[in-house]
Symmetry: C2
Subunit: 478 residues, 2 copies
């Protein structure tokens, strides 16, 4: 007789439910047939009765069996009616797989935004439509030809875009590279996904910033990585923990976002940049430098990325159009050693056969057009304006209740709520009043922090939005 496998990762009750389902589907127990009592089955299988109770509950919830008090448990007549056909147990498929669902807070925010598109959105980490170069892109699409080859792409992405990026990276980011070291990706998100899936193995340890955008991504956990944290303060991430993490946990990679970090908005200072490179190159550790915000620097000054001073070739550099043009374009890039780029390109063919050629052409044209530079200048000006509106509103509406550093670039303001507060209740009260934000714990911080994105909302929503937030905060404090 079949017995559950105690060494399996699958819970015993689930194994028992599966086995019963199979026996039922094979007609061992036809529709309407009586099943063994919980006690009896537990004895036969050598498990606790509570395990069988759980297995029966599972089958009941699937409509496969029915229990009536006093008359035991039977195979459902309805489900297994005239013909013994049935729908796949989609529920079980959906629960399977190694992919973790999105964080509950993020799901809640998405759901709230879907239910009420009028919500003032301080949560979505992207540009408002008035900041995106939609008209410029439209104009470019009208004048340019797309009649060339529309077949499968080069695995590393559309060659003219890679060539243009070599120039762009040289001019704007002080990075020297070649088109064969560039991989075009579906945004920084896909770059991170490829790195975590293809260069690391389950069980590997990595260092991330604390707090960090990475923390909001179940991607890291889905890849089975063990995450260790490096604290971020007003000067950016502190590199000194790396050595001991390496000794203790054999970390394999370090993920940082040095320019206007998401969520804290901090800029990594020069001394620490050098220190970070020194430590990692001593240990032969690769750094992943996620750099989506640097071109938004409000003073227009360029902060050279780690990659530009990376003498040892330790840095994988990630960029994206999402925060400087439009997230809906889904065009990002990665600069890495050739062998790495080839490996990731090969794997990506398996996932989606690469990006559509259309947005890649659009991105290439935009980058090379006369629209690009004026767009960037306007973007910086407008973001600065929105930042100031937000700060003014916070000072006016919440004096003494919040503290924050003033970000010099990016889209986010990281705000500490001074009195003790329950994140969950604060978010719900805010949604009730018509605004959303992201609780800091999503990024791995303690509760009592809030990330306000000022890039996404309209200018005239910022003050009313913060006023609603203030109401929500007062309601949970009182």
């Amino acid at each position: 007789m079949w017995k559950p496998d105690r060494l399996s990762a699958q819970p015993l009750y689930q194994q028992i439910a599966n086995d019963l389902e199979r026996r039922i589907s094979y007609g061992e127990f036809p529709p309407g047939a009586m099943l063994p009592s919980e006690r009896k089955l537990a004895e036969q299988l050598g498990v606790n009765r509570s395990t069988v109770i759980l297995a029966y509950a599972e089958l009941r919830s699937l409509g496969i069996i029915e229990s009536r008090s006093g008359s035991g448990t039977r195979v459902s007549k309805y489900k297994w009616g005239a013909t013994p056909k049935h729908t796949p147990n989609w529920h079980r498929y959906v629960e399977g797989g190694s992919f973790l669902p999105n964080l509950p807070f993020l799901r809640r925010i998405r759901e709230a935004l879907q239910q009420n598109p009028e919500l003032i959105d301080f949560a979505s980490g992207e540009l408002a439509s008035d900041l995106a170069p939609a008209e410029e892109i439209n104009a470019l699409m009208k004048v340019n030809q797309y009649t060339e080859y529309l077949g499968y792409n080069h695995p590393q992405g559309y060659a003219p875009l890679r060539k243009s990026l070599v120039q762009y990276l040289h001019q704007h980011r002080d990075i020297q590279t070649t088109d064969s070291s560039i991989l075009i990706t579906s945004g920084s998100q896909q770059s991170l996904y490829l790195i975590t899936q293809c260069l690391l193995a389950p069980g590997d340890a990595v260092a991330i910033e604390d707090p960090s955008y990475c923390y909001s991504l179940p991607m890291f956990q889905s890849a089975g990585l063990r995450l260790f944290r490096l604290p971020v303060d007003h000067r950016g991430v502190r590199p000194e923990g790396i050595r001991s993490l390496y000794k203790k946990h054999r970390i394999k990679m370090v993920f940082v976002n040095p320019n206007f970090q998401n969520p804290t908005g901090t800029l990594l200072d020069e001394e620490r940049r050098n220190e970070l490179l020194r430590v990692t190159s001593e240990l032969g550790l690769p750094i992943v430098e996620d750099d989506p915000f640097s071109l938004t620097a409000y003073d227009g000054a360029s902060r050279p990325p780690l990659k530009s001073i990376d003498a040892m070739g330790s840095v994988i550099y990630i960029g994206s159009f999402s925060k400087i043009a439009a997230s809906g374009l889904r065009v990002g890039w990665m600069v890495a050693p050739n062998s790495v780029v080839e490996r990731l390109a090969d794997a990506r063919q398996q996932m989606d056969f690469g990006l559509s050629i259309v947005p890649q052409k659009v991105a290439e044209q935009f980058l090379n057009s006369d629209y690009f530079q004026p767009h960037l200048e306007r973007l910086r000006m407008r973001l600065l304006y929105k930042r100031d509106l937000l700060i003014e509103a916070l000072r006016k509406e919440l004096p003494g209740l919040v503290s924050f550093m003033v970000p010099q670039g990016g889209l986010h303001l990281w705000c500490k709520i001074i009195p003790e507060v329950n994140d969950h209740r604060l978010l719900e009260e805010a949604i009730r009043r018509g605004i959303v934000f992201v609780p800091g714990s999503v990024y791995g911080s303690d509760s009592g922090y809030v990330r306000f994105t000022y890039g996404r909302s309209k200018a005239d929503e910022i003050e009313p939005g913060i006023s609603k937030f203030a109401e929500a905060l007062r309601s949970v404090l009182s």
Copy 2:
């Protein structure tokens, strides 16, 4: 003292190499220092001497140590020169991760095509540029506006495209669905990737056709799936093996391509369609129906997909624009139960944040335009013409040497080479003469089969291409 872990999945020599590398990087063995002899280290660690030899060879290949005959093994001076800094061991990162590289034959074909773009291409499973609606798409991009919101998309994809697909599926594929049951994907490839990654777990068994396109995708092996085969004959896949595969291996899903199957070109006949649904629904097994070719039917008749007669909701249906419009658009779709679509959409957010909105708009406009129907008709006519050219050339150039079934739709002809032949040599000889094809073994068949794609080459290349193929074949037979 550290000892290697014999229970670890990592080979002993690799663990030893890693440990030595760490000790070297910590200065325990400074640059130029002598390392223990192989015999001594083997004793200390309790391993075979051959294991230490391998570990040293690994470190030598990385330039970390140097051996000179007679004078033992030392830490490299060059690599660890003045400062003890070094480049990450990218090689090791690239080898890590759970993602398998593409099949050698496919890599070889890609490489050959990159080296010589003049090759006559009977290998790439896509449409030639004269078959793609490039001008129509260009015209649409010129007249339409793209000035709307360019932000992150709905996780299931651009809503107007999903709405249009509901209509399209009803009209062309006899499928009744709603936009909330549709997921827009980066082609069928991403649909398959999402299903294998998110609905199945490593160790799960699935049934695929034999031969099958799926077999060419390391994706299935990368997901840790165990593949079991269902033979395909002239009437399509034979469903009768499903029941025994379910009994023996508990298969969890069945993957089929019923219309003009890749690679065999066969059409699943009606009796077998019904039988397939009957068996799977008795077992509660989901079917994944991959249907990229059905609209190419040369007689213009629609073959209703399994999904259209799927009373039990067992079928996940996958479609794509790749084989009916342009593979470079990267727009595909999936129809599945709501809970499945939501799960996959959520996971996809983690991978790439969804598709670019630009190709989705283009696809939507094309689908709703007056260009679509005439394009399809022209496509069918041209494919039929190319198929006939191919058949004529095969009959003329290789009488008695090949046998094949005449496909009634799709882009591929599946060809048996009658005399015994070495696939590898045949491919190399063909490449030398200026053509590429895909050896059948890539799809899991025995050697001695060839897939000729006639959709990709130009009409006037077909006869010369087959003539070169005939030369190649004769050269390996003689």
